[in-house]
Amino acid sequence: MDRREILEELKRVLEPYTENKELLRNINEQTDLVKDLKINSSNLVDVIIDAEAKYNIEIDFDSSEKMISVGSCIDVISDKINK
């Protein structure tokens, strides 16, 4: 799966936690989950748990700490699924 495909799927993972769906449509790798998408930082745990289920991967604490922007989420996810 390439980065663009992961990004498209990531939109569906982020959707329940993003109030402004318009913002979600135009995300790119630089988009910050909390600052730009206004996701409640306490829900980042849920984003990670949902991503684990979607990609059938396990995200450890160190990787979770990196998942700040759309790009860094894609880094972690692609790293795990290509293992």
Binding site: N40, S42, V45, I48, I49, S64
Partner: protein, 159 residues
Amino acid sequence: MYRYILDLLPYKSSFRFVEEIAYVDADGVVGHYTLQPDSFFYADHFPGNPVTPGAILTEIMAQIGLVVLGIFLITEGKAPANDAAAAAAKPTSPTAAIFPLLSSANVEFFKMALPGQRLTVTSKKEYFRFDKLKCRVEMHDAAGERVAKGTFAGFLKKL
């Protein structure tokens, strides 16, 4: 048996809403609280007609359903080896050992709860990961009727 959990609760006097822990394991907790007729909120909510505020019922559910279970989980069910943590949680100490932060509460109320009633709170863990504890919590009165139910989540930090 669960005495050490009560000792680690950071809430004191008028804002402590845990009376008894009936059961707790890694998946959930059952606990009790009896609504005290002399609680500070009844005089004004409402004058001559004391009814427990929904915010207080929510707090009772959070303290038993999330914080008691959270303390059990972070202490792995064992009283801390030294009693420094318990000592720090005593009201004389300026700092509590456990610092809970509620991050969400989605609650529905089914019936009123009146002063003097003994409430039972039952909580089932959905997950505990990256310091976040999420639970499904129900509250029943002494007659076994459901007072409230909800989904709660919060973070528990050891200071």
